[in-house]
């Protein structure tokens, strides 16, 4: 039944920090005072301009506070009417753009504390990603250790755009901590804007900036595999969040073809990149880049060569679909159940199958 969302696990929704005061409440005296002393207004980025159509669906802009600013708002918009089992909060407050890494760490701690207090503690169906100051992997590990005892934190959140690809060894301490605690790695659209969002510089329009996010996912996927992250940390899983999905098969064909010819450069990759992807990579299903008509969804799904790759996600409050068209039309019932429930449970060990259905 296409309208049946009972028990679904929403693997990507975005609580919005309403204002800097919300974070100050969770800061040490020093950092709270600093915010006031230096007149810090906040660290939102141009990745999601507040009033751009994509950023918030029109019907989810209504209300004060807005539905994405409080747990009850999201529950009323999504959890209750569709009877989702669980949802994972991915807060996109951009600590990643802060140049001062200690300030970044302080803001990350405040964001996580705010998510815990205002979201996780308010609704038992909610889970969350740990926001980390990836600027400094040691500080990121400290942040992970701070929240890992709380099993409601199920993932470590990165932005897809950064100075160095995420497979590189400077990030491995983070993956060591992730594997130890059964945390999944989540890589989400967005950039720290420390350099251009494309390999050819800065585009003129927001539309191009957002379009380019899927290209950064190509790089991150190639990096995670080629650097041997999954050889080093064989229990790790990484979820590509809000990537667009359909880019992956053409890219994997290329990566695999190159690997066949130049694999002696990365001899630790002793089997096809496709196998690493099947074992370790998952993708959230919104947005799903497909044409409005003319292409059978089943043929697009077949490109994945696996029915275990896709995870349900609403991407709330981003405007990726209207009404409750949360999945592409034409997915059969068994695949639908996998996407909604089974695949998310397998991707996130910390969900532990304890979702309410």
């Amino acid at each position: 039944m296409s309208g049946d969302w009972v028990g679904a696990i929403d693997c990507d929704m975005h609580p919005r920090v309403p204002n800097i005061a919300a974070l100050r409440a969770h800061m040490s005296e020093y950092w709270s005072d600093t915010v006031e002393l230096r007149g810090i207004e906040g660290f939102d980025t141009i990745a999601y301009p507040a009033n751009a159509p994509l950023t918030v669906r029109p019907d989810w802009r209504e209300g004060k506070p807005r539905p994405d600013e409080h747990a009850a708002g999201y529950a009323k918009a999504m959890l209750d009417p569709h009877k989702f089992g669980l949802a994972i909060c991915n807060c996109l407050y951009a600590v990643q753009i802060i140049r001062d890494e200690y300030m970044a760490a302080a803001f990350a701690t405040a964001v996580n504390a705010w998510v815990k207090t205002e979201w996780l503690d308010k609704d038992a169906r909610l889970r969350a990603s740990i926001v980390v100051p990836a600027q400094n992997p040691e500080l990121a590990v400290e942040e992970i250790e701070r929240w890992a005892p709380d099993s409601r934190f199920v993932q470590i959140l990165f932005l897809v755009g950064g100075e160095q690809p995420l497979g590189q060894s400077r990030f491995w301490p983070i993956y060591r901590a992730a594997e130890k605690h059964g945390l999944t790695i989540g890589i989400h659209a967005g950039s720290n804007y420390l350099h251009a969002v494309t390999g050819s510089g800065w585009p003129s329009y927001y539309l191009e900036d957002y379009a380019a996010q899927s290209l950064a996912f190509h790089t991150q996927l190639g990096s995670l595999i080629s650097e041997g992250v999954f050889v080093k940390f064989p229990k790790l899983k990484a979820v590509l969040i809000e990537s667009g999905v359909t880019w992956i098969a053409p890219y994997l064909w290329r990566l695999t073809k190159f690997w066949r010819g130049v694999r002696n450069e990365v001899p630790w990759i002793d089997r096809s990149p496709l196998e690493f992807v099947r074992d370790h990579i998952r993708l959230t299903i919104q947005p799903f880049d497909a044409p409005a008509a003319g292409v059978e969804i089943s043929r697009l799904m077949d490109l994945m060569q696996s029915d275990e790759m896709l995870l349900f996600a609403s991407d709330f409050p981003h405007w990726q679909f209207d009404g409750d068209a949360m999945l592409p039309a034409g997915i059969d019932a068994s695949l639908r159940k996998k996407i909604l429930i089974d695949n998310p449970l397998a991707a996130y060990p910390r969900l532990g199958g304890r979702h309410a259905t």
């Binding site: 751009a52 159509p53 994509l54 897809v160 755009g161 950064g162 160095q164 690809p165 497979g167 950039s191 350099h195 969002v197 494309t198 390999g199 050819s200 510089g201 585009p203 003129s204 329009y205 539309l207 191009e208 957002y210 380019a212 996010q213 899927s214 290209l215 950064a216 190509h218 790089t219 991150q220 190639g222 990096s223 080629s226 650097e227 667009g244 359909t246 880019w247 098969a249 053409p250 890219y251 064909w253 290329r254 990566l255 695999t256 073809k257 190159f258 690997w259 010819g261 130049v262 450069e265 990365v266 880049d289 497909a290 044409p291 292409v295 043929r299 077949d302 490109l303 060569q305 405007w319």
Partner: protein, 377 residues
């Protein structure tokens, strides 16, 4: 799962070497990407002023990745070339017209091959005047060394693309000469290639009815991706399709095809399968945010369908039979152009590169008919 094995396609019957294939029914081949090389840097000397020759000797090429040899990612083979393409008489692969004729043009029955000079051609150099002088020299060298002696080979107008005005001047200088078949730009430009500073290139190309070929590589001065510099050649190589996508996105969204409605562009050596998902993505974003780009009168996919061509090399290879054909179908059979990349290591043979199940008429279309309608032949 069925692996795409060679020698079992309909295409095989068109093989120039196959028994029973006569001149009249064999496959015609128009190749969108052949790489000529000079034997030694002195080959360019006759085409440079004394000032620029001395400059080249004194300061060398200065490309935007800091490497003297041009490539921070060492290739899989010397000069990224086929091991069997080194001329016996010495010199680099691609420098011997005789070997190119024997090993490739004659052997594969190539009717027309489009030259794409790479390496230290001056494209993307920090010094714009040097860049312009080098490109001019490379263009003259192409004519004398390849395009005039061998009528099957057509030159590209190599332009100093970071300087729009100088590029337009070079197109004006060469554009009327029928030995030139396209304008040649690299995908890694310093700004997205649809930006206004590059528009004089498109205006001049349109004026002469020349397609603009965007070949992968180049040095932009930025990390090769929005996620930074990867470590390995395998990543860099697989990632070329992303710089092609950046270029197509920019050309469409910045309004180049609205402004230059007769312009055709060819994306070269980045594969092709990425084009369908990119068009779908841009259409969805345009539906949401057309208000930001009011200069666009149509959906992005419509501009792509009308103005953008892709070469097939390096051929996409899926472990699942039929998937590559699906992508070809979704992109459009009339958008695909065969290219070999001779003499480089990821060479595609026109008879053996294509996936199992490709119908002979499609094979003919991609290998020749489409090229005839795109290039100024």
């Amino acid at each position: 799962m069925q692996l795409d094995a060679p020698f079992t396609t309909d295409a095989e019957t068109l093989d120039a070497h196959a028994p029973g294939v006569t001149k009249s029914n064999r496959l015609a081949v128009i190749d969108g990407d052949i790489h000529p090389a000079w034997r030694k840097p002195e080959d360019l000397k006759p085409y440079l002023s004394k000032y620029w020759w001395d400059h080249l000797q004194t300061y060398g090429s200065r490309r935007k990745n800091g490497s003297v040899y041009g490539e921070p990612y060492p290739k899989s083979a010397p000069l990224a070339c086929r091991r069997d393409a080194w001329p016996e008489e010495g010199g680099r692969p691609g420098s011997s017209l005789a070997l190119m004729q024997k090993q490739y043009l004659d052997a594969c029955g190539v009717e027309v091959g489009i030259l794409g000079p790479l390496g230290a051609t001056g494209q993307g150099d920090f010094n714009l005047d040097f860049s312009a002088a080098m490109c001019r020299a490379v263009n003259e060298w192409q004519l004398d060394t390849f395009a005039r002696p061998e009528k099957r080979l057509k030159a590209s107008i190599v332009v100093p693309y970071e300087d729009g005005a100088a590029s337009a001047a070079e197109i004006e200088r060469c554009g009327a000469d029928p030995h030139f078949a396209q304008v040649f730009v690299l995908t890694r430009s310093s700004e997205p290639i649809g930006s206004r500073r590059y528009w004089p290139i498109f205006a001049a190309a349109e004026r002469y009815g020349l397609p603009v070929g965007f070949h992968v590589f180049g040095t932009s001065g930025h990390p090769v991706s929005g996620a930074g510099w990867p470590s390995y050649y395998v990543e860099e190589g697989a990632g070329h399709s992303t710089s092609c996508q950046t270029a197509v996105t920019s050309l469409v969204i910045e309004g180049v095809f609205e402004r230059f409605p007769k312009l055709k562009v060819v994306m070269v050596e980045g594969g092709f399968a990425w084009l369908a998902p990119l068009a779908w993505r841009l259409d969805k974003l345009h539906e949401r945010m057309h208000g930001e780009v009011p200069h666009l009168k149509r959906r992005p996919s419509e501009y792509i369908r009308e103005h953008v061509y892709v070469t097939t090399q390096p051929m996409e290879e899926s472990d699942v039979r039929g998937q590559v054909l699906d992508l070809m179908e979704w992109i459009g059979w009339d958008r695909l152009l065969f290219a070999s990349d001779y003499p480089h290591w990821d060479f595609d043979d026109p008879f053996r590169a294509f996936p199992v199940g490709l119908k002979a008429e499609r094979h003919r279309q991609i290998c020749a008919e489409n090229g005839r309608s795109v290039y100024r032949l």
